[in-house]
């Protein structure tokens, strides 16, 4: 079970819950499971988020593998200049 | 609007063109003569990207009418290299990474050439003030100033070709 942590104000959309234990093999499954656990998050997740797995930021790749002991953060959509 | 007929020398070649009375020399060079090396960054003489040498003086070609060039001598970036052989300034800019995007480069090279024609050994401060009217947003000017210094040294015969 990976520990999925919600960045700041996202947790407000999850009734204050900041951390979820989710068993998912990759980002796509993890986001689906997260949306089911906290339905109010669904529109935000659909708009696009950045996912950090063990410190590496993933803006696009939805099928990046998540290990059972991975540290996962859900961060806002990011762009550079 | 009747057009003005102009005969002038551009990079040593006699050139004739017709232009509107209110058309700038920069527009003539770019739009009528397809010499697009001179760039328009502002159109108000504040950026220097359109610098040419007119009768020996560097000027912003966006602030010169095409009609004014009658009988004068115009030097542009297109005339700076001698065939395949680059001007020392061009070579030192290339070797010294003194350009990034390259849009300001033609204007700076022409302005620097005019500087070295009247001052073979300018100080860093003299180079910086001479080029104050040539904006560069990529480099922070450091490598540009160094490239002018090293080209000047080569032109004075103090160093070998870069």
């Amino acid at each position: 079970m990976a520990r999925v942590k919600l960045w700041g104000s996202l947790s407000r959309m999850a009734d204050g819950q900041k951390e979820f234990e989710i068993d998912a093999p990759n980002i796509d499954r993890m986001l689906t499971a997260l949306g089911e656990a906290a339905p109010k998050l669904k529109p935000i997740l659909a708009k696009g988020v950045t996912v950090s797995i063990d410190g590496t930021l993933y803006r696009l790749d939805k099928f990046q593998a998540i290990q059972p002991d991975s540290e996962v953060y859900i961060l806002p959509k990011m762009a550079g200049g | 609007m009747s057009q003005v007929h102009v005969t002038t020398k551009i990079n040593g070649d006699s050139t004739e063109y017709l232009c509107d009375a209110d058309e700038t020399l920069l527009d003539v060079l770019r739009d009528r003569l397809q010499m697009t090396g001179s760039k328009e960054g502002c159109g108000t003489g504040d950026c220097g990207a359109c610098t040419i040498i007119l009768d020996g003086r560097p000027v912003c070609s966006c602030l010169v009418l095409g009609a004014e060039a009658e009988g004068r001598s115009v030097e542009t970036i297109e005339g700076m290299a001698n065939g395949e052989e680059l001007h020392p300034l061009q070579r030192h800019f290339l070797n010294g990474a003194a350009l990034q995007c390259g849009i300001c480069t033609p204007g700076i090279l022409v302005a620097a050439k005019a500087l070295l024609a009247q001052n073979a050994n300018p100080s860093e401060t003299e180079i910086r003030y001479w080029l104050a009217g040539n904006l560069c947003r990529c480099t922070g000017y450091d490598k540009i100033i160094r490239a002018v210094q090293s080209a000047a040294a080569e032109m004075r015969g103090e160093t070998h070709a870069a």
Binding site: - | T44, C60, L63, G133
Partner: protein, 287 residues
């Protein structure tokens, strides 16, 4: 729009006088072309002065140095007599824009734009420069401070133009200086400009002074009280402070994108002090 480049002053006057529409003079063009391209002006005729040989020269006359209306700032600053005799005017002229602009811009053009922030004008006013005007009624000479009547407005009548500027000959012990404040080192319009011309006697005492401020009012300001603060002194700290106070008090600037009222008033005094010191030390060398 028509472009004409007459070769004599008379031909230029005729062209201007006969034009029914809007006519503009092209000297250096560094301001005219900006206004033309922005659509701010829509002339019917442009008269280029740069084919008139007489206006392209700097000549020493019996009563001073005559600078033709087509002489660019760079050329003025290459003229050894001009730089030696009128350093304040020359240093003001060479502050106008970039190297590229200095190869074109003229002090006559700077004067006739009638910008309150023109760099060369306070210096010329301090130097008591005289503008020679050619027009349908012939020639007339007027002090440069009478040319601008307000921002962008001049006293020139239809068909008239400034053909040259005389920098009057100077008494021994006279010199000048110009300083301006800008946020950068180059390329800005003056937030405040100060031109000062002084005469000193053999003891180093100031016997005559003229102080002109730019960018602090609708027109260039001549500050008589500031001049009086210097006259009779050797430019000691008290005199300089009085000069600065007079300049700050005389300034009636506006708040705009380039500076605030409080800032401009204060800087007018600060720069006046600094410019006076330079002018006094130059004047002593001219004794």
């Amino acid at each position: 729009m028509r472009y004409e480049s007459p070769t004599t002053v008379e031909a230029a006057v005729t062209l201007l006088a006969n034009e029914a529409g809007k006519a503009h003079i092209l000297a250096g063009g560094t301001d005219l072309l900006v206004r033309l391209r922005s659509g701010f002006i829509e002339p019917d005729l442009i008269v280029d002065l740069k084919r008139i040989d007489a206006l392209k020269s700097i000549t020493m006359e019996s009563d001073g140095l005559r600078v033709g209306a087509a002489v660019p700032s760079a050329m003025l600053n290459e003229h050894a007599d001009a730089v030696a005799g009128w350093p304040g005017v020359c240093e003001a002229a060479i502050l106008i824009g970039s190297t590229q602009v200095q190869g074109r811009a003229t002090i006559s053009g700077n004067l006739c734009n009638a910008s309150p922030a023109a760099d060369s004008v306070p210096a010329m006013v301090a130097a008591r420069a005289i503008a020679r005007i050619s027009g349908p009624q012939g020639m007339r000479d007027v002090p440069v401070e009478e040319i601008a009547t307000g921002p962008g407005k001049t006293s020139l009548a239809k068909g008239e133009f400034v053909d040259s500027i005389l920098l009057p000959k100077r008494a021994p012990g006279t010199s000048d200086a110009y300083l301006r404040f800008i946020p950068r080192t180059e390329m800005d319009i003056a937030v405040v400009g100060v031109g000062i011309c002084v005469t000193v006697d053999k003891t180093g005492t100031c016997t005559a002074a003229r102080v002109a401020l730019g960018a602090v009012a609708a027109k260039i300001l001549v500050v008589e009280a500031a001049a009086q603060a210097l006259i009779g002194t050797k430019g000691d700290e008290a005199a300089l402070n009085a000069l600065a106070a007079a300049c700050s008090a005389a300034a009636t600037p506006i708040d705009d994108k380039r500076g605030t009222v409080a800032f401009r008033k204060e800087i007018a005094g600060t720069l006046a002090k600094r410019a006076a010191k330079i002018a006094l030390s130059r004047a002593e060398k001219n004794l």
